[in-house]
Amino acid sequence: MSDTVATAPRRNASGFTMARIVFDWGPPALTFVIVAVLWQLVAINNPYVLPTLDAIGNSLASDPGMYWANLLVTCQEVVIGAGAGIICGFLLAVAMSELPIVEKAVMPLIVVIMVTPVVAIAPALVVAFGFGMLPKYIVTGLVVFFPMLVNSLAGLRDVDQKALDVFKTLHASRWEIFRDLRLPGCMPFVFAGLRIAMPLAVVGAAVAEFVAAGQQAGLGSLVTIAAAQANLPVTWASIALLCLLGVLLVSLLALLRKRILWWSDEDVIGR
């Protein structure tokens, strides 16, 4: 047949050779090396500005249990707070796309909350809910809520009109249209929202901990306490762990995306 299947993604042998690895990983690795060298130079000459990398490493190695405990607290805030924010944002988007009255009623309030700086809300929440975990969950949830809501809503609205026509001529119910068309179709947008929300979740958790520092552990608290004591190695070790947490979340998301959303990646499917 003349119109045979488009060529599948080609994994040619050279894709896994040494040269390929060097080409793919070399440039970013070089950047990191340069930054590390510059860092060391600054740190050695200005001990009150930056700690040396080995001082940071020593600090991490000397008290891993303490760092681990604080990392777990921050993780907990991210998982529970951001999890709730993501679910609420998505569900509200579904409600808004299915019932225009909901959008009309709620959107103005959403906009007002959205323009309020979360950093300013955090202390107020601490006053209201105390130094426990709840205000931290709320702040973390709030920062991920908006990108999830906005992206999910855009995705639910962005249906293929021609496919929708096919569903309508079949007299599909709203539930069938949602289940078989809108929901799977909105996933690329949901993942775009998650890609924004994940790093923000770490920011939210850290900000909440700044405000309520000292009471409950957490990497954000650790940063404020150590900085107040001018303990640079602990400060920067905590920052490094926050950064690592963000990288981990984004990588997990990329893995999940590859599993769920392979169909929207043309380079994966090979057009």
Binding site: M1, S2, A6, K162, L170, G185
Partner: protein, 276 residues
């Protein structure tokens, strides 16, 4: 669960039973100040098992008419009925198969699952109909090897064939196709239209087929409805008295050429009249 029937040659056209009746339909768009009449007094009947093509200048309202018959938009005046029922009732019974201009397959479903979709949607309407086996229908459209592939892995022509298989699979009484081959290159178009011709000739349904290709309209149709624009209306209905079953050989016949010449000149007249 109704039995899934095997592909079988359908009965020939039921000569005089009416499938689709469009009577005196009017459709306009826009607000009070900038109202544009897109269809004005359009009447048309399609018999059961009859293949009718709509041809006319672009923007004359072909897609608009098709959407009215599909129940995707409402006429401002006149009426449309399918097998004597309202379009709404017909849609409830899953009597309408739609092939849009783009294949509109769901990229996250395999070809087989895409073609099975109309069976799983609105399953209440499946009772007492001859559902086809999605695998067999794909095989008869030459896609037997591609069942487990995803749309993005197929060429445009294959995707469009899958979209046509999707419209036939639940055995609707009327098929509506809006320029289904217009996005394909000429070689592919011809192959696809022959595929549709073969399939339809052994599974005759009422078809309303929008096209802008004169040879395509002639080779496929029993009648060609020529539309004029501003406002959209029927200029002429041309009978295609060429014997069936048809195949490529028909393109070379004198009867085909004569008719093609006639349709082209009629089309030209409509276009010129619009320009004045």
């Amino acid at each position: 669960m109704p039995a899934v029937s095997h592909l079988q040659s359908a009965p020939a056209a039921y000569p005089d039973e009416i499938g689709v009746e469009v009577s005196n339909v009017t459709k306009s768009f826009g607000g009070d100040t900038s109202r544009v009449t897109v269809l004005n007094g359009v009447s048309l009947t399609i018999k059961k098992g009859e293949f009718v093509s709509l041809i006319g200048p672009s923007g004359c309202g072909k897609s608009t008419l098709l959407k009215l018959v599909a129940g995707l938009s409402e006429a401002n005046g006149g009426s449309v009925s399918i097998n004597g029922k309202s379009v709404r009732e017909a849609a409830k019974d899953k009597a309408i198969g739609l092939v849009p201009q783009s294949p509109a397959l769901l990229p996250w479903r395999t070809i087989l699952d895409n073609v099975s979709l109309p069976i799983s949607i609105n399953p209440g309407a499946n009772a007492g109909r001859k559902l086809r086996d999605p695998k067999e229908i794909l095989q008869s459209f030459g896609l037997g090897h591609a069942l487990d592939r995803y749309p993005a892995q197929l060429s445009g022509g294959m995707q469009q064939r899958a979209a046509i298989a999707r419209a036939f699979v639940f055995d609707p009484e009327i098929l509506l196709m809006d320029e289904p081959f217009s996005a394909l290159d000429e070689m592919n178009r011809d192959q696809q239209r022959m595929g549709l011709l073969d399939f339809w000739q052994s599974n005759r349904k009422s078809v309303l087929f929008v096209t802008h290709s004169v040879p395509e309209a002639i080779i496929l149709s029993d009648r060609i409805v020529l539309m004029a624009s501003h406002p959209g209306r029927i200029a002429e209905i041309i009978d295609v008295d060429l014997p069936r079953p048809r195949n490529e050989a028909l393109y070379a016949s004198d009867a085909f050429r004569d008719l093609e010449g006639y349709v082209r000149s009629a089309l030209r007249k409509v276009m010129e009249a619009a320009r004045v």
